[in-house]
Point group: C2
Chain length 133, copies 2
């Protein structure tokens, strides 16, 4: 028994294949991604000014984004003294680390999808009957 020929072959468009729903909004915003990446690379934490320099953020923007990240349980904020000067130390929480790594796994999917393009030829097939707007 053979299958009847398919008169209407259509590529299966997997619903949401490129929706990247794992790119969590809280992490995806560039300033916050920058903060979380810095903290991930420094497991002992970073003082406010070092974090500010690494992320090239203003005091106000860094404070605002840290509040958002703290509210969502991504970071811990510690107050203390170092060399007799008041300091703020920021560290990734265990949850923050876990969710950041999940986010990164999703970024890896975005990269893997794109790498195909880089490796493929840049063919531009004809588009007969179509006019640019």
């Amino acid at each position: 028994m053979s299958e009847p020929p398919n008169d209407n072959p259509k590529p299966v468009r997997e619903q949401g294949r490129f929706a990247y729903e794992g790119l969590e909004r809280v992490i995806h915003e560039r300033a916050r991604l920058s903060i979380l990446s810095s903290l991930a690379a420094h497991p002992a934490g970073l003082v406010f000014n070092d974090l500010k320099a690494l992320c090239k953020l203003t005091d106000g923007n860094l404070s605002r984004q840290l509040s958002v990240l703290q509210e969502h349980g991504f970071v811990e904020i510690w107050k203390g003294f170092k060399n007799n000067r008041p300091q703020t130390l920021v560290r990734l929480t265990a949850t923050g680390q876990e969710r950041f790594l999940e986010y990164i796994a999703n970024l890896e999917k975005v990269v893997a999808d794109a790498v195909r393009l880089r490796e493929a030829s840049t063919s531009h097939p004809a588009t007969e009957g179509l006019l640019p707007t």
Copy 2:
């Protein structure tokens, strides 16, 4: 001649090391990243409805984001007929492809920075003299 000992060794904090300025705002927004990734994977272009399904976007949101991407020269929008029905075809421009790949190279840096964390132990050194807020 030997160098004098450095009494105050301090880790060099490369200014903006984690600023990720290459994560271009126009591309980084998740819906637009989704659209560009879909188009990058389909060099011949995609009709509006297929693009909508792949990105799980509403008609309104897809239209809006396509306008932004067209304004910035990332995509071409073509009007035509397929099976006697009016269709909209969307394709990545050459510039769009180039800038998308640059963006992806920057995402790869974010991933590479994070992979260190995944491979490192999850040590949490003591934070004497510091109190959580």
